[in-house]
Amino acid sequence: MSHPSELISAYLDGELHDSESSQLVDHLAGCGRCSAELGEMQRVRSAVRSLPVLELPVGIVPEADPVVVPLRRHKGMWAGVAAAVVAAVIAIAAIVTPEPGSLTIEEMNSRFGARASLDPAFGPAKVVVPPLVGE
């Protein structure tokens, strides 16, 4: 009689039809070779299933869409903040500079204008402007 070897794993996985299952069980009762294989496959199956479940590493999921900042609504506020920061920088510079007369307008623009352009508050070009509703 042939040995229905390939039915053994499906039997362990509960993937046989009733008739196939009965056929295999009858065969196993009288076949030492297939009974031994059943035991071996059971051990291998358990070994693979005993591998630890690994947790998903943090940060593995790609970033979601960037948040759209409604720049238009706050444009007036940012412009005011920008002007205030520039004014404050100039005022402080005027106070702490030992010889105010030695600093020209060009030098002040060069020194503080560059700093202002690096300030995140001055970066509207990086922000997405949403379509206006009702205009």
């Binding site: 070994a47 005993s50 999921v61």
Partner: protein, 166 residues
């Protein structure tokens, strides 16, 4: 009625860990598994718009195993980066970081190494069955082969594992 995740973020939340475990057991390497999960999620993100109601898991695992096979083919074209199951075990150990090797040793390593020694078709079938927990019918759908082929691959894969582990 099948409950279908609406967004790729939900897919990531619900299936991310399963996809990672599938990817890790197929590649044996956390870095490759990491890359594969990200690739799968990007494909899910692109594909959800055109998803037709049916077997969501079948669709998801088809995407996942296709992403894996694409990576295998890509590495095949790169002569300096052989397939994981073609790499000599000691070469692999020497080229990895200490952390990666430590993780490999500490995670049931004999079984993991034996899995990597299986031909890809058998490894994939065994991992989808025993790690992911799919039914034979779901595996057949994901791999696009008849259910009899799935049955055969799982059994032959386990027999090879038995030889490798003994």
């Amino acid at each position: 009625m099948e409950s279908i995740p609406l967004t790729w973020e939900e897919v990531a939340r619900v299936y991310g860990r399963k996809i990672y475990n599938f990817a890790y057991r197929l590649t044996g390497n956390p870095d490759d598994a990491h890359d594969l999960v990200q690739e799968v999620l990007l494909r899910v993100r692109r594909g959800l718009a055109n998803y037709q109601p049916g077997s969501f898991e079948g669709w998801l695992w088809r995407i996942t195993r296709n992403a894996f096979l694409d990576e295998v083919r890509r590495q095949k074209r790169r002569p300096t980066a052989p397939l994981p199951d073609e790499v000599d075990r000691w070469d692999r150990a020497s080229s990895d970081s200490v952390d990666v090797e430590y993780a490999r040793i500490s995670l049931g390593d004999d079984i993991q190494k034996a899995l990597l020694d299986l031909p890809i078709d058998f490894r994939e079938a065994v991992v989808l069955c025993d790690i992911v927990g799919l039914s034979y019918e779901e595996i057949a759908l994901a791999v696009a082969v008849p259910i009899g082929t799935v049955r055969s691959r799982i059994h032959r894969g386990r027999k090879m594992l038995k030889e490798l582990l003994s």
